[in-house]
Amino acid sequence: MTAPASPRPDADQRPLPSRRTALGLAAAGGLAVSSLGQAARASAAPPVRPMSPVLPETVSGLADGLDLQSSKAWHLARRVCPAPTAAIAKEITTRGYTAWIDRQLNWKKISDTKADALVKKHLSFATMTGIAVYKASRKQAWIAAKAMSTSRTIRQVFTKRYLYESMVDTMADHLYVSADGKASEFVAWFDWAVLRKYALSTYSSMLYAAIRHPAMLIYLDNQLSTRTAINENLGRELLELHTVGVGNYTEDDVLNSARLLTGHGVDWNKRTYAYTPGNHYVGAVRIMDFEDPNTDLSKGPALLKAYLSYLAHHEATARHIARRLAVRYVSDTPSDDFVASLAKVYLDNDTSLAAVMRALLLSEEFAASVGAKWRRPQETMATMIKLRRPSTIKAPKNQQLKSVWDITGTVQWLLYRENHQPRMWPVVNGYPDQAPAWMATQALLGHWYSANARVNWGNDKQWPSDYSSWASALGVKKGQVITEVAKKLTSTITGYTWTDEHLAIVVQRLSDGGTGSTLSSGQVKDNLGPALHFIFASPYFMLR
């Protein structure tokens, strides 16, 4: 078992070392520490310590050594679904690739009653406006932020609107407002009134709704900005993060952007957006090619609308949005040509996000990008939960007022450990979306820990299932042929056809302690867990 079955294009001709010695581990199994410098420490020489690689900013070719065999349907499912499964891949095949995409883009036609009902029942604050949640929560409106964060996991597991929910989270990182912090009272409202409303609509409509929402106006301090004490936070981030991006504007543009935005703030009595003319800067403003004499205070709102439309339709914004979507759905290093082609679709379709996504998903670059993305914790978590086949969410009545995090059991804490609780990134730029951020040592350990938790801790009572065990949820039974079980589990869970070598590890785990070719009940009981843990921890599960 020293060389892979198929030759790799750039493999040199020497016999390959065994996998174990390749990683400095003893061929006989167990840990060899010699390569890690233990021997050196025993002597007087300075200790040789393990090194942490400095991760490059972006990585292309995440796992060049793996021969990834997958289907077109699975590739699509892995990329656009929060929790892809074999059932979804089958749906794609049955309906037809393009037809499935079009149906997912037409998300309103897909009924999502189960997910909606669960959120409404347990996390109603996540569906309310600012003032409504303020009243309903007895002035603890910050709970709505946590309710909304919790609702993301529930939707990721139970939704049928896969692409739509994925886009909601993608755009959440773009027009980012942290759930933890000064805008916490309003982020739930922002989620449904801005992100969920416009996720597959036009970016210009989403941007307009976002910049006028209390959540954004508070988070980026615009509510404090007045003509005599201008706060540039939103004025800058609107250009840097939301639209044209770094390098496309000057500091004067930032100043004028901030001036233009003055007056747009919050009415704290009604807890809603309000424009205060008295706070608005008067005088000519010019941002890139947009100018306005801005002499009439009462025209502030119309001016904002015109400015945001200009920005949304700017070619640099088109490239920025195109790149955001390409990085999320295609690869960490999309080509400039590809980004430019998507930008053109964006502009040709009045900033339609759906149009861009359609072009993206039907592109050659997408088709050729199998295994080019590294999964983030929310995705692995939602998938691991979903595979256990929960039937619903079970929580005490009004739990959102008492202990909102408990509604999803241990999941919140696991996501916290992995630094990916929904909408809880502490900085204005949203969660990073490239592999290095999510495959650092701490991240690998975090995922392996979560995988163990989902498999070996016993099911969270908050996620009851009609299936009493992982075995029944996965259809694994005594008497099944072990090699077939290994193939079925690996391919239905990851969507890749594993190499014989790697399957052999799963087979070994399933067989442990037995000699037969079929599963005994003891093997089902004791070995499925370790096999599953390994599958979840494997690179195949992480390569999206």
Binding site: G29, N233, V427, P530
Partner: protein, 483 residues
């Protein structure tokens, strides 16, 4: 005009109270802060000195009158942003500008282990510190005040709450320093925002933490254990893309978890993951190798049961265990340069308790805190001479006790600095008499930017003189002399 290197705290300068003359332009990138002055009908960019001069010329009396601030438990809700009267005191060091002298410290030989303790929730400095001769302190603090019978003398002016008595020997040995009136001048009395600000110690568009930037700028060493957080995940202070930090809730738990089938130290899982990730090639294989290597290294450390040295008696608490683990890691010679650990629970809006009652909330935490550090010093033995411990907290607490026997979010705080090579046994920074005139809306003013003390530590104890990278946008003032 190129971006002026202005500390955002200039917002609190006197000139800025005259909005019709001087317009502050807040940039979230501090380096881009500017002041605009309208002079003779035209607007131009001015330095803080020019702004102050202009105002002094045109408006000799400031007649400061802060708009009525509605006070809430989490701090005052202001009609206007940032104009605090009391903060005018001692501002000289804070009104840094490109024209002001830039102090640099001769970098020390460095090499200290930095132990950074974040006291989460807003540590109540005035519950720790007693000011018996200040009638304001005695009146406003009421039963929570520290008196000569409930505190020990630090000097002729200040006492330290007796529940911190385990620190007394460190103080007496001149290895404990206290900085008064310290903090980040931009804090807004909000836990999340202010912890974020204190840990990043830079403006919003800088996504890294100060210790992460120290690690990145001090050397290109990539040893796995350079920086460790004792906790569930890496603290924000250590964030940087240039180096991967580790977090562990304890040394003993830093292992792969798996079913019993995986064997000791989950060796079967390690082996199988090593095999499959090894085949993945490229960055992924290197990453996995580093990860498994880290586990392996710690397994060796864990192989020996740890016995604290010199009779060190750690308190039986998460805090005690955390410090003990840091000592263990320090002695394991792993190349650890930084250890970060949090101590939470300080957000006592109610029932602070009194210093004389050892069962009070604050007393219990103070005692645990101090006992842990005393044991830590004892355990380290001679290593202590190359260890520097710093504390920070997102803000201090209001001078006046509230109606529930607790205190609400405040502003200026105190920092503890400890180590074998710290210039201890002294109080640094300043705190005025706590009369209403001297307070910023009822809070201790920030008279020393916490980055001042940290800069001296980073430079002299850690040997890193790239302070402009560690604290971008901050100009150190005259050295306090803590290190």
């Amino acid at each position: 005009m190129p971006g002026q290197n202005l500390d955002a705290s200039l917002r609190r300068g006197e000139a800025l109270l005259h909005e019709d003359l001087i317009t502050p332009l807040h940039h979230h990138n501090e380096a881009q802060n500017r002041l605009l002055a309208t002079v003779d009908g035209s607007t131009r960019v001015v330095t803080p000195e020019q702004a102050n001069e202009l105002v002094a010329t045109l408006r000799p009396n400031t007649g400061i009158d802060d708009p009525a601030a509605e006070h809430t438990p989490t701090g005052p809700r202001l009609a206007r942003r940032g104009f605090f009267r009391g903060s005018l005191i001692g501002l000289g060091g804070l009104l840094a500008a490109s024209a002001a002298p830039r102090y640099s410290f001769a970098a020390g030989t460095g090499g200290d282990l930095l132990v950074c303790i974040f006291l989460r929730g807003g540590f109540d400095g005035l519950a720790a510190l007693g000011v018996p001769d200040d009638s304001n302190y005695n009146n406003l603090r009421g039963a929570t005040r520290v008196t000569s019978s409930t505190g020990f003398a630090l000097n002729s002016t200040y006492l330290l709450n007796n529940n911190f008595a385990p620190l007394k020997s460190i103080w007496d040995d001149n290895q404990l320093a206290i900085v008064l009136g310290s903090g980040h001048p931009d804090v807004q009395r909000s836990h999340f925002e202010d912890q974020d600000l204190c840990e990043r110690a830079a403006k919003a568009n800088v996504r890294s933490g100060w210790i992460g930037r120290h690690i990145a700028s001090s050397s290109s060493e990539s040893g796995t254990f350079r920086a460790i957080t004792i906790g569930d995940r890496v603290v924000l202070s250590l964030t940087t893309t240039a180096y991967q930090s580790l977090a562990m809730s304890s040394v003993d738990s830093f292992a792969l978890n798996g079913s019993w089938k995986e064997g000791d130290n989950a060796k079967r899982l390690v082996s199988d993951l090593g095999a499959i990730y090894g085949d993945a090639g490229g960055v992924l294989a290197t990453q996995a190798k580093a990860t498994l290597g880290a586990l392996d290294e710690l397994a060796t450390v864990r192989g020996t049961t740890y016995a604290p040295a010199n009779g060190a008696a750690y308190p039986d608490s998460t805090w005690g265990s955390g410090l003990k683990d840091i000592a263990r890691l320090a002695k394991a010679d792993l190349g650890m340069e930084v250890a970060c650990i949090d101590y939470g629970g300080w957000d006592m809006h109610q029932n602070l308790g009194t210093p004389g009652n050892t069962n009070g909330q604050f007393s219990r935490l103070a005692s645990d805190f101090a006992k842990g550090l005393k044991a830590f010093r004892t355990d380290l033995g001679p290593i202590w001479n190359s260890v520097t411990v710093v504390t920070m907290s997102e803000f201090g607490r209001r001078v006046q006790v509230n109606g529930d026997g607790g205190t609400d979010h405040g502003h200026g705080n105190l920092m503890f600095l400890m180590g074998g090579s710290i210039n201890g046994g002294h109080i640094y920074g300043s705190m005025p008499t706590l009369s209403a005139d001297n307070l910023t809306t009822g809070d201790v003013p920030i008279t020393t930017d916490y980055r001042q003390a940290l800069s001296e530590i980073v430079s002299k104890r850690l040997g890193n003189d790239k302070l402009d990278q560690v604290f971008p946008g901050f100009t150190p003032g005259k050295a306090l002399g803590v290190a």
